[in-house]
Each structure stands twice: as C-alpha cells, then as structure tokens.
C-alpha cells in the first residue's frame, strides 16, 4: 500500500496547480506499477521527453506547460527533434521543425536547462555517487548508474518530466541498494590487451552484454586495461540498445564494483557466461548489415561526441579530405561544440569536409537525404538503430576506419585486432 506524505497529497489535490496535479497523478499510478510503498525525493532530472515523436509528444508537453507545471529540481534536457539553429542545412520538413521547436519551447517554459543532449554528463553538472535522480535516455541512465554511481530507475519518456515537476519518484528499482546487485556474470577470457585498449572493443562488448543480460544487471569481469569514460559510455549505450541494461558493473573499474563480491553484493549470480574472441567476433559482425564496400555517409556521435572524442578525431583528419559523395557528420551538444570550436578542433573537421549537428541526431530528426543508403559508424547505438529507424544499411568500424573510409570513398576496415 502506497504511503503518501502531506506534500504528495497536496500536489495530488491540486494545491500546487493543475500541472503538478497531473504529474503527481501519473507518478502515483506508476508507484502502483512498480509496487512501491512510498515515494522518495530526487535532486536532479534528465528529461528524455524532449524528443519529438509527433503530435502526441507535443500535445503532452504543451498540456503540462499550459497547466503551469514547473520543474522542482535542476532538469537537463535530452535531444530534441531538430537542430534548433542549424536544421535548414538538411532536408528537414519545415512542419516537423516547427513542431519540434514548439516542443523545445514547452520544456523551456517548464524551467528545464536547454542543453539538449543525450550525454548531459559531458557538459552539465554531474550527479554525485549515491545521489537519487530521475534520468531518461537509455545511455544516460546506464552512465549515471554505472559510471557515476548515482541512482536512477530506467525512466521512460513522459515519466521523467513528471518526476522533475513533482521532485518525487516511486521508491523502487535501482533507487534501492538491494536492487543494484549484479545478476549475470560475464567473464572475459583470452581478450588481447591491445584489443581491450582499442575503442572499437567497447561498443562490441556492450552489444554482446546487452544481448546476454537482457533486463538483468550484468557484471563484467576480466577487463585488464583502464577503460576511459568514453569507452564506458560506448559500452553502456550499446548494452542499453541491444538489451534493457540500466546498470552494469565492471569489476575494478566502476564504483560499485571494486571487487566481484561487492558487485554481486555477496550473492551468487543467476548465471555465469564465458566470453572469448569467437563470441566477440560474432557480435561485431552483427553490427554490420551492409554487404560490399559502398558508402554514402559516415555518422559519429551516438551518444553525443565528447570533447575528448573531438581531440581524438582532429589529428586523424589532418591532410585528408572526404570524397565528395561521402557525407561526414558528427552529432554533439551545443556546449561541447562550443568548447571544441574554442579548442581549434572543428577547423580540421571543416577542412576535411565534415559537418556538425547539435541538439539532436539523425535517429531523432528526419534530416538525412533519401540517397543515403549505407552509413558507417563507430557507434553501436547508431549501428543498432539505423536499419529500423533510417532504413539504411550500416557498417561498424573504428573511428580511424570511419575517417579512412570517408577519404577513400569506400568502406576500409583494419581487421588486425579482430582477426584470428
């Protein structure tokens, strides 16, 4: 039975206005779904509901804003449906752009921070270890829980904004210590250190992890190289695409997994799976759907490109130019784009013939010209969703492979780290 506080009841009875009342009504109904006995306070939110999917998501945002709802905690915004100031460079239907901008405005009116990025942890204040938050966007959820050790349930679009408006969430799921124990043990076996240190390893490991874990919490044991934040970001984004992974532990790397015992909270795992090169090679093959070496576009930045990734990319571009028929797009946030510009990291991209999109990405905005049939990317998330959402073929490769391929005008991949 759900116990409500005086504050909760006041919202539910409309004492803070009809917008907060509607948000609290949804939170309380969801507490029933979660089987929660109480609500708990959150200190921050990340709003994935900013993604424009059509009239319904716009009507929802404008309903809440129109009813006077305002966020009660600092609330960052996820990508929207349009690059607000750059959409005319692409064939985005004007009607779509107008509605997506209206939806951005509705979230601004509710007091959200207009950063419009799927990787708020790269430019906005980060939640601390143990902090209770309500984050949407699957990759951001995985990053906040796993890499930062903050605590969020896997909040879906439409619910995250209700949590932000009320400052309350059902006390359930990953907010509670006992639900954060690892459940599926993935033991890496015989993975060369050179591959572990390579960026192309983590999206593949993440893709496989998501498939093996499903909706359970995976624990990965056997990483012997210190992974970077961008590598962990890629791992989480991939696992949250192929599976419902909202929290993963990497023994010796992520903060709730100093040891295997700590990651499992002393319990036995539901299952233990050995993963070697054969499974990883198979997972890597799954991320490519295209046959042949034809290429129309290189697409980087899902999750949004970080400053560190721009630093990695810039030297690879120097002295090269893309083939005219291969477009080269990097998606990132306004804040990171501004920092990269100041750091001189965008000039090499422009000389190469590359473009930047902020606020959104081609998965959330209908911006790609129809002649784009084959994409190449270093992102498992782009690789996973492109065939269904964009109706394109896709090729997965490393960042260096992507640059080389754009310059060559056809898919070129360095297979040395992955071959027998």
């Amino acid at each position: 039975m759900l116990q409500l506080t005086d504050y909760d009841r006041a919202l539910l009875e409309g004492e803070r206005g009809p917008g907060a009342q509607m948000a609290m009504r949804i939170i309380v109904r969801m507490a029933g779904v979660f089987g929660a006995e109480r609500l708990l306070d959150i200190t921050a939110a990340h709003i994935d509901s900013t993604i424009f999917m059509g009239d319904a998501t716009l009507e929802y945002a404008e309903r809440l804003a129109g009813l006077g709802a305002r966020v009660a905690v600092p609330s960052t915004t996820n990508v929207s449906g349009v690059d607000e100031h750059g959409w005319t460079e692409w064939p985005v239907p004007p009607d779509w752009a107008e509605k997506a901008r209206r939806q951005m405005d509705a979230y601004r009116r509710m007091g959200c921070i207009p950063c419009f990025t799927c990787a708020p942890y790269q430019s906005e204040p980060r939640p601390a270890f143990g902090q209770q938050i309500a984050w949407g966007e699957s990759n951001a959820i995985a990053f906040a829980n796993s890499v930062l050790g903050a605590r969020t349930e896997r909040y879906p679009d439409l619910l995250d904004i209700c949590a932000a408006i009320t400052g309350r969430v059902p006390a359930a799921g990953l907010h509670l210590t006992e639900n954060r124990a690892g459940q599926i043990l993935i033991r890496l076996d015989g993975i060369p250190k050179a591959l572990q240190a390579d960026d192309s390893f983590y999206p593949v490991l993440g893709h496989l992890t998501g498939k093996l874990a499903g909706e359970h919490i995976p624990v990965i044991e056997g990483i012997t190289v210190q992974a970077t934040e961008d590598q962990l970001k890629a791992l989480g984004a991939a696992a949250a695409s192929s599976g419902a992974v909202a929290l993963f532990h990497v023994v010796g790397v992520t903060p709730e997994a100093p040891t295997l015992e700590a990651a499992l909270q002393g319990r036995a795992p539901l299952s233990s799976i050995a993963v070697g090169m054969p499974q990883l090679r198979a997972a890597r093959l799954e991320l490519t759907t295209a046959a042949g070496d034809g290429l129309d576009m290189v697409l980087l930045g899902s999750p949004h490109f970080s400053l560190a990734e721009f630093r990695q990319l810039a030297p690879l571009l120097v002295g090269q130019v893309r083939r005219p028929r291969v477009r080269f797009l990097v998606t990132t946030s306004r804040a990171v784009a501004a920092l990269a510009e100041r750091g001189g990291l965008l000039e090499p991209l422009r000389r190469f013939g590359g473009q930047i999109t902020v606020d959104t990405c081609p998965l959330a905005s209908p911006m790609l010209p129809p002649e784009i049939r084959t994409l190449m990317t270093n992102s498992a998330k782009y690789a996973y969703y492109a065939p269904g959402l964009l109706n394109t073929q896709v090729v997965y490769g490393s960042l260096a492979d992507c640059v080389r391929s754009a310059a060559a005008g056809r898919v070129v991949r360095d297979e040395r780290l992955w071959s027998d």
């Binding site: 309903r63 909040y155 879906p156 949250a240 969703y385």
Partner: protein, 134 residues
C-alpha cells in the same frame, strides 16, 4: 490464466507473440503498427489492434513516446501481455489515458503462462486481469 493488472481494460483480438523483447523506438511504426526492428522475429508483422505478447521492452526510453503516438494514431495494439511488469508500456498507457482517455490494457503474466501464448489464438483480456486464449 490470471495476470497482474498494470493498466486495467478489456480487449479481445488475435495474438501476436514473440519471446524476444522489443524496443518500440526503432522497432514499431507508430503510424501503421508495423514491427520495424529488422533484427526482431516479428519484423514486418502488424501489431495494431492485436494483442501483442512480448516478454518486456528493451532499449530506448523513447519507447513510451512511440506507444503514445501509436495510441493517438489508432495504431496501438489492442492490449499488451508481458512476462514481467513492464514500466514503459504501463506508463505509456497511463499517459494515453490522461491525454486521450484511451488506455491500452497491460497485463503481466507468470513466465509459464506467457510461454503458453506461443500457440497463438484469440486472446480475451478482462478488467480483472483474467486472460482467456481460444
């Protein structure tokens, strides 16, 4: 079989079953109800107005927005049966109720009951969570 009511409602329609989880974002066309995840066993099937049985939703948290769009467009399933209490589908249905007064019944079944849906048939969902397949 008796399920747990996550969002109450009544429906009766042909079952569309898979034991593979689905992301509605990138997996469900909100205008037509077609399953468009080309890696999913139900790829190409139309789930609109059918009783969709999937174990749980995976992947993107935008699944709920796609489901809400599908309700608005009249391309949502008639009901959803899952093997675990699925917060995404439940939330989407609750918001569909708030916005349009059109909740989609969402019922969680025990694992063995869910698996029995593989045989197909017409599923009738009652308001108390009773599911009858014939």
């Amino acid at each position: 079989m008796q399920g747990r009511v996550l969002v109450a409602g009544e429906a009766s329609a042909q079952l569309l079953y898979s034991d593979a989880p689905l992301s509605f974002w990138g997996g469900y066309d909100a205008a037509t109800g077609e399953i468009i995840d080309r890696r999913h066993p139900l790829s190409g099937q139309i789930a609109a107005a059918r009783v969709l049985a999937i174990p749980f939703t995976k992947g993107s948290s935008t699944t709920t927005a796609v489901f809400l769009e599908a309700v608005r467009a009249g391309a949502a399933p008639a009901a959803v049966l899952t093997a675990t209490p699925d917060a995404f589908l439940s939330l989407a249905s609750i918001v569909a109720d708030e916005m349009y007064g059109r909740p989609v019944p969402v019922i969680a079944l025990a694992a063995e009951d869910f698996a029995s849906l593989a045989e197909g048939g017409i599923a009738t969902i009652r308001g108390d969570g009773m599911v009858i397949v014939e």
